[in-house]
Amino acid sequence: MEKRAVFKSWWLPIVFALPQLLLILCFFYWPVAAVVNWAFTLEPPFGGPAEFVGFANFQEAFADPFYWNSVVVSLIFAIVGPLFAISIGLVLAIAVDRQLPGSGFFRFLYILPYAIAGPAAGMAFRFILSPERGLAASLNAMWPDIWNPAKYGEHALALVIIIFIWKWSGYTFIFLLAGLQSVPRALGEAAAMDGAGPFRRAIDVQVPLLAPTLFFLLVTMMTEGFVGADTFGIVHAVTEGGPNHGTEVMVYRIVDEAFKGLNYSGASAQSIILIGLIMIFTFIQFRFVEKRVHYK
């Protein structure tokens, strides 16, 4: 931060920063303040005076087994999804980094899924992985109901996580490839001199050097899986939280509770809990980002 700051003017920076600050104030801080307000009252759907109820909305959420269900679903989503996305990205990055002829072509393609919005991908995967057609149909013909996301919560959860992994593997790939390419080539060559094969080199030399990138990805991907736009979009477009709350992630529950259940206050209380959780995530992330800055 302490870098230059050459110009001295008290009003110019304000003028320059004002537009964005105003927007952030209006659409960020003010709503966050409103969430706090609503979380402690009972906001009537059509507006009007709201009664102060203290922590009742929080107690209600904590006493609700389906709330805890959504916490568990979110955690599974936010752990399994990122782990697979990062692993796939890592394997592909190491492969592409070997720069064999033609790997540029693959590098070009791998990023493409990232361009697709979660809901749009969800729509396509509803077809691709639908139990009554394609590969799944053959499997179901052999073992009835071995894959039926409409019926089993676990299958549905697997389905939405697969879509998440599909979309984000390209993203982790990009970062890991960038990370690999910043590893001094000499290191790998030295290892090669020692007679280490490509696999050994990947595991012993490259992966450890990628640790910061991997950690950064883990945190961002987990945040993304936890509260990201795609998490909501995929669940909303593919399963609507069902069957029987099987894919009801926390964000979906909040939006559903507020806009379908007309329970703005309960949803606000749940938002606050979620905000708390993200703060913890971000704290970790920030500590890390700080370190990264020193790295450079």
Binding site: A17, Q20, L92, A120, A267, I278
Partner: protein
């Protein structure tokens, strides 16, 4: 490569092909399905070979989901979000990096915190604010002295409403900030020596130098804007403002049981195309933007 490693090379290719099937396979299914007839698309086993029905299917999808309107709206929305972001973030980053001002830290932190809370968690009250933008002002006024103002400024069903809340995050600011920090001190010093003020420095020096960054930011913001889902879903009730992501639902085969997934897939493909093109054609900048914003 110094070593000859035929086995390792074979494994590497196998991995890359596997990645291709995994990540690009779904696109091939979509393309194949979108160009088949309804009978073909529902056949077991599914044929991965495209047929020649794409235009028919696409035309039907276009009509069913009113994609003309939706595409136009999404385009407008994506462009506005992108333009707003690219411009405003540059201003803020300039204010943060190049001025010695006591407010600098306030700016930085107030922008930084927005990275933490995505729209999804604060969507309920954000909606309320969009419904009445002056609500904050009103509340503050009525808190101090009970003044009431009667104007309502409503953003629902408007392009402003679709875009402003999405511009209100920090992503771009940090991209510029990082870039500005890499510039040599002498640059600004020289500008100051020249006697050209900060404003001229910003427009004449800084912005032209930031061209690549802008392009990078443009690509990611366009994709971000185009792919918005929850926000339009909530705030648009007037069909003339609906966006492509909202049309997805109407693309699904109708309830009466005709499984015309070929039409659904053709429509989805049309919706996926613009961001795909951006990411495909401008990949260099896109990747650069991604890695640089780190988010």
């Amino acid at each position: 490569m110094i070593q000859r490693t035929p086995v390792a090379n074979a494994v590497t290719y196998a991995i890359m092909v596997f990645g291709f099937i995994l990540l690009i396979g779904p696109f091939l299914v979509i393309i194949a399905g979108a160009s088949q007839t309804m009978q073909q698309v529902n056949a077991i086993p599914f044929s991965f070979l495209p047929d020649n029905q794409f235009l028919t299917n696409a035309a039907q999808a276009w009509k069913r989901a009113d994609l003309g309107t939706a595409m136009t709206n999404s385009l407008i929305m994506a462009v506005l979000v992108t333009a707003g972001k690219v411009a405003l973030s540059a201003f803020t980053a300039f204010a943060i990096v190049f001025f010695r001002s006591p407010l600098k830290h306030v700016f930085f932190w107030s922008v930084f915190i927005t990275l933490m809370l995505p729209l999804e968690v604060r969507v309920v009250p954000t909606y309320a604010v969009a419904a009445d933008l002056l609500q904050p002002v009103k509340s503050i006024l009525s808190l101090f002295g009970g003044i009431q103002i009667g104007i309502d400024w409503n953003l629902l069903n408007s392009y402003t409403g679709l875009t402003l809340p999405l511009i209100a995050t920090a992503t771009g600011t940090f991209l510029y900030r990082q870039f500005f920090m890499t510039l040599p001190d002498e640059l600004a010093e020289a500008a100051r020596m020249d006697g050209s003020g900060p404003v001229r420095f910003f427009f004449d020096m800084l912005l032209p130098l930031s061209r690549t960054n802008m392009l990078a930011l443009t690509t990611i913001m366009f994709v971000y804007g185009w792919n918005q889902y929850l926000w339009p879903l909530l705030m648009v009730t007037d069909p003339s403002y609906k966006t492509v992501m909202m049309s997805l639902r109407s693309l699904l085969p109708a309830d009466n049981g005709t499984p015309d997934w070929n039409v659904t897939l053709a429509g989805s493909l049309l919706i996926m195309l613009p961001p795909l093109i951006v990411v495909g054609v401008l990949q260099r900048w896109f990747v650069r933007g991604l890695v640089a914003t780190e988010k």
